[in-house]
């Protein structure tokens, strides 16, 4: 056999290159965790041989919600309104059940304004890979606390959070979500593995990905008392300048723990769940996650998988076809039906 000088660009089962799964150039801050997640979505979509034209990528509003623009330019994107991607996605799923839905959201988008919609999307088990790009802050509005910020965490402006956080994972499990996982934007291997599993899941798959905000989640703060407001101008102007943050990558063996330095200088300990971890025992898993959190550890990995759960389409009892495009003759009853209805009313 002969070998060619240039190695051929690898393609997946559909004959598509990884390049076919990328999107527009990111306009997020250099080093933003969200971009690292986008990279793994592209990787997983390619490896899973997703047909771009059958993918709907939806989001709310936020830096995280901008990411659908940055992957799969051949898929249908919908950057909707803040916190409501779950509802829009439910509509799209009902209209066309053949679509594979990916929602990228933020901790503010999903855990604050979007809480009601998320909870009920989970309850109805809408088929979707729902990714929360979780940085504990409102990035796009320049750094206010979100509901996932840990007690004691500090923002650029120096504010300290005192209110108990909400854990999207245990919340989803409490609500009976059939696929729940957590990962870290700095752990590409684990993240892509989880994403691939989620893309293969038939119902709502919720993934909470810790994704540092390099711009607003940092301690470079000073007193915020108005007296020193001009001091504040200083960090503000540095804030005006967005440094490139080199994303520390890691890889965790099952059960192993590792401390990671975040852009805010704080350290976060990630522990990946062990081989022995029982993803079918929801209550036990919730207990372990809570206990790890109390130990100051972020448990990562797939926490819970329950297959065979009925999805929203089972509840609507609708036909298996794409509702959006059934022809008129099948959805417009004939004159005799109208007559029958009229007779009933005489």
């Amino acid at each position: 056999m002969t070998t060619t000088a240039t190695a051929p660009v690898p393609t997946n089962k559909l004959g598509l290159t990884k390049q076919d799964y990328v999107g527009a150039k990111s306009t997020l801050c250099p080093g933003c965790g969200h971009d690292a997640i986008t990279a793994q979505i592209i990787q997983a979509a390619w490896e899973m041989n997703l047909e771009p034209h059958n993918v709907a990528k939806l989001s709310g509003i936020g830096c995280s919600s901008k990411t659908p623009t940055y992957f799969m330019s051949q898929a249908w994107g919908f950057n909707s309104v803040h916190g409501r991607a779950a509802a829009v996605c439910t509509g799209a799923a009902l209209a066309n059940r053949k679509l594979l839905n990916i929602v990228t959201s933020g901790d503010g988008d999903s855990m604050s304004i979007g809480m009601g919609q998320l909870v009920h999307m989970i309850r109805r088990n809408v088929p979707v890979v729902y990714i929360i790009e979780d940085n504990g802050v409102y990035g796009l509005t320049k750094g206010q606390f979100s509901a996932t910020a840990d007690v004691g965490s500090t923002l650029k402006h120096g504010d300290v959070n005192e209110i108990q956080p909400i854990d999207p994972c245990t919340l989803a499990m409490e609500l009976g979500c059939g696929f729940v996982a957590r990962s870290f934007s700095g752990n590409p291997k684990q993240l892509s593995t989880i994403l691939k599993a989620a893309l293969a899941y038939e119902g709502t798959a919720l993934i909470d990905v810790i994704s540092p905000c390099v711009t607003f989640n940092n301690h470079d703060s000073s007193t915020k008392s108005y007296k020193n407001a001009k001091d504040r101008e200083m960090p503000l102007q540095e804030l005006g300048f967005i440094p490139y943050y080199d994303h520390e990558e890691m890889e965790l063996a099952d059960g192993q723990a590792m401390e990671v330095g975040l852009p805010d200088g704080s350290r976060l300990t990630f522990r990946s769940v062990g081989k022995d971890f029982d993803v079918t025992d929801r209550l036990k898993a919730m207990k372990e996650i809570h206990e790890a959190h109390d130990r100051g550890e972020f448990l990562t990995g797939i926490f819970h998988i329950e297959t065979g759960k009925p999805v929203i389409h089972d509840f609507t009892h609708a036909i298996d076809e794409v509702l959006a495009t059934i022809p008129q003759e099948r959805v417009k009853p004939g004159p005799e039906v109208l007559e029958a209805c009229m007779r009933e009313l005489m």
Binding site: H53, N79, V88
Partner: protein, 606 residues
């Protein structure tokens, strides 16, 4: 024993044949619904035009309810203030009920209430309901249930209803439930017999057979809307219950289960989901419309307020969707079970920023059906949210109507490109105004071929659906949206115009129609005033409306809201004619009457 009123003049003079009103005062939850419907239905079956209005509380049991039945040989369907026959079954309101009627009114009441002690100028008819019920119904636990049927019998005898018709009305109402039918028919008979024996003739109020209801149906507007949606091939429905709109979807569910099942699989070819709130419902409508479904929701004022943000997204990202607003009395929770036209401006300009929405205003049962059907065509043609604005009076009251004509037109799915068409096109842009009508070509998610994908967003975008913050591109987009809205002028229902062609015009819409029709006769017959009439049926306003207003000197704008909202829209659109417009307003939460219109017009001209 019918105790004649002392003062002679109080016995309402001339006999009223097929032209009088009955009001039944009961407590809600006491099961008077069936009794009242039977009473109304009987008159209907006797060929006499009749309408029934249920004035019910926002409550499940124990609060006052009034049912008003108006028989009118001319076919006037509007509410009329005066009561000729009053039936008092509610101790709580008996005093007021007696106080409010005119001298000479016939008053049927439960004997123990001793209402004859309250006034001396009424024709009292105390009925021993308990006794009659006990005699007619073996099972004590059912006494309360059939008690109301007794007054139907009494009234039937007094106003000359045909017992055959009464009983067939009962049978129709209780469709096949023989035991219930027997019980209720027995109760009616008991009332009838008692009246024949104890309640001496009164010739004041008579129902005599006519043939004016032949072939008609009795229906409510919500059911009509549900039928319209079903025949429009609605495929995705998201809703959240709210009075008075809930039955739009509940009826649709019933119809769909019967007529929208896939013969092969027995499954439904429409997906109907009760959401967690109105925000989510609107989100589903937008998302489903974006993905190509014919999507809809039905709600009322508070729901529209909550949907505002999503409706703005639908407008700006150009996603089709049908929003039925069965208006109730606001502001706020207001009076959930009372009628209003108070959401006209809200729907016309719903959401922040510059927005203009297509609105349809059905004025009768046929239009509730037709316009809901047509709303889906308009939504897909113009790729935008479309409002069908009805109200509680249309939506939940019983109306006689001609049967609906089958909508022959094929669906208009609008400008949607499929794979083949895309292949032909060199340079497709989702928001490129190729035809100059402001309406662009869209594709549906899932379209293969790799050419149709685009990115939808509520933020600034250019003709190629790319994110843009460029001032000129933003202005071009909102200018096009306005152009698109104006294009719809030629597709929305034209106004209905009537009249001899005089200088005095009346402009109205929606449920005010019957009152206007009657008012025009009164103005002519009693006050010698000819009027022309234009009934607005949609936004944007059409050229016919412009010509009509231009051609009149004075235009009375009749509305059921406080602030004259439609008049406001007209003044904004047509400053040159603003001075001609006069507000004729009714907003006390009851349906408008002809007399209200007559009085206000006369006051203007006094």
């Amino acid at each position: 024993m019918l105790t004649q009123a002392s003062t002679s003049e109080s016995v309402g003079g001339a006999t009223l044949v097929n032209d009088f009103s009955i009001e039944v005062a009961t407590v809600n939850g006491s099961g008077s619904q069936t009794a009242n419907t039977v009473l109304m239905r009987t008159i209907f079956q006797m060929g006499v035009p009749v309408t029934g209005k249920n004035l019910f509380p926002s409550n499940i049991a124990g609060l006052p309810t009034w049912f008003q039945i108006r028989a009118n040989h001319k076919g006037y369907k509007a509410r009329k203030a005066g009561i000729d026959l009053m039936i008092c079954m509610n101790p709580e309101t008996a005093k007021e009920d007696v106080a409010k009627v005119a001298p000479g009114t016939v008053l049927i009441y439960d004997e123990p209430l001793k209402l004859n002690a309250l006034r001396s100028d009424l024709a009292f008819c105390p009925v021993p309901f308990q006794k009659l019920v006990a005699a007619s119904c073996p099972e004590p636990k059912l006494h309360k249930l059939v008690k109301n049927m007794v007054y139907v019998g009494v009234a039937a005898q007094m106003i000359g209803l045909d017992m055959i018709e009464v009983k067939s009305a009962i049978a129709k109402q209780l469709n096949g439930k023989q035991k219930a039918i027997d019980l209720n028919q027995a109760a009616v008979q008991a009332g009838f017999d008692w009246a024949a024996a104890e309640a001496p003739r009164q010739d004041h109020l008579r129902i005599e057979r006519l043939d004016k209801t032949k072939g008609q149906i009795i229906i409510d507007g919500n059911t009509a809307c549900a039928l319209g949606a079903m025949f429009a091939g609605v495929t995705v429905v998201a809703w959240y219950p709210i009075t008075p709109s809930s039955s739009v979807i509940e009826q649709l569910i019933d119809y769909a289960k019967e007529y929208r099942r896939d013969p092969a699989t027995g499954k439904l070819n429409v997906a109907i989901v009760q959401m967690e709130d109105e925000i989510a419902s609107a989100g589903v409508v937008v998302g489903a419309g974006w993905a190509g479904a014919r999507s809809m929701t039905a709600t009322s004022g508070p729901g529209i307020s909550l949907m505002s943000e999503f409706i703005g997204l639908g407008y700006f990202a150009e996603c089709p969707g049908v929003f039925v607003n069965v208006t109730r009395m606001g502001p706020s929770t207001g009076l959930p079970t009372r009628t209003s036209q108070g959401d006209v401006e809200l729907c016309a300009k719903c959401s922040h920023g510059d927005t203009l929405h297509i609105c349809l205003y059905p004025g009768n049962m046929e239009e509730c059906f037709q316009f809901t059907y047509q709303a889906f065509d308009l939504a897909e043609r113009y790729q935008t949210p479309v409002f069908v604005v009805t109200d509680l009076d249309l939506g939940m009251q019983n109306w006689a109507s001609e049967p609906f004509a089958y909508p022959a037109t094929a669906f208009d799915r609008g400008k949607v490109l499929d794979e083949a068409q895309l292949r032909e096109i060199q340079d497709w842009g989702r928001y490129k105004d190729v035809d100059g009508d402001g309406v662009c070509y869209r594709t549906l998610p899932g379209t293969p071929g790799g050419k149709g994908a685009y990115f939808t967003r509520g933020t600034g975008h250019n003709p190629y659906a790319l994110y843009s913050e460029k001032p000129d591109e933003f202005k071009a987009t909102v200018d096009r949206l306005k152009r698109k809205f104006m294009t719809a002028r030629t597709h929305v229902p034209k106004p209905v115009i009537q009249g001899p062609g005089v200088s005095r015009g009346i402009l109205a819409y929606g449920s005010s129609d019957p009152a206007v029709a009657e008012a025009r006769d009164l103005l002519k017959d009693l006050h010698g005033k000819d009027t022309d009439y234009l009934r607005v049926r949609a936004l944007p306003f059409t050229q016919e409306l412009e010509a009509w207003i231009d051609g009149h000197e004075v235009v009375y704008v009749v509305e059921q809201n406080r602030d004259g909202q439609m008049a406001g829209l007209l003044k904004e659109a047509y400053p040159q004619w603003a001075l001609k417009l006069r507000n004729v307003l009714h907003y006390d939460s009851t349906a408008i009457t002809a007399q209200t219109i007559v009085d206000q017009i006369n006051a203007f001209e006094a």
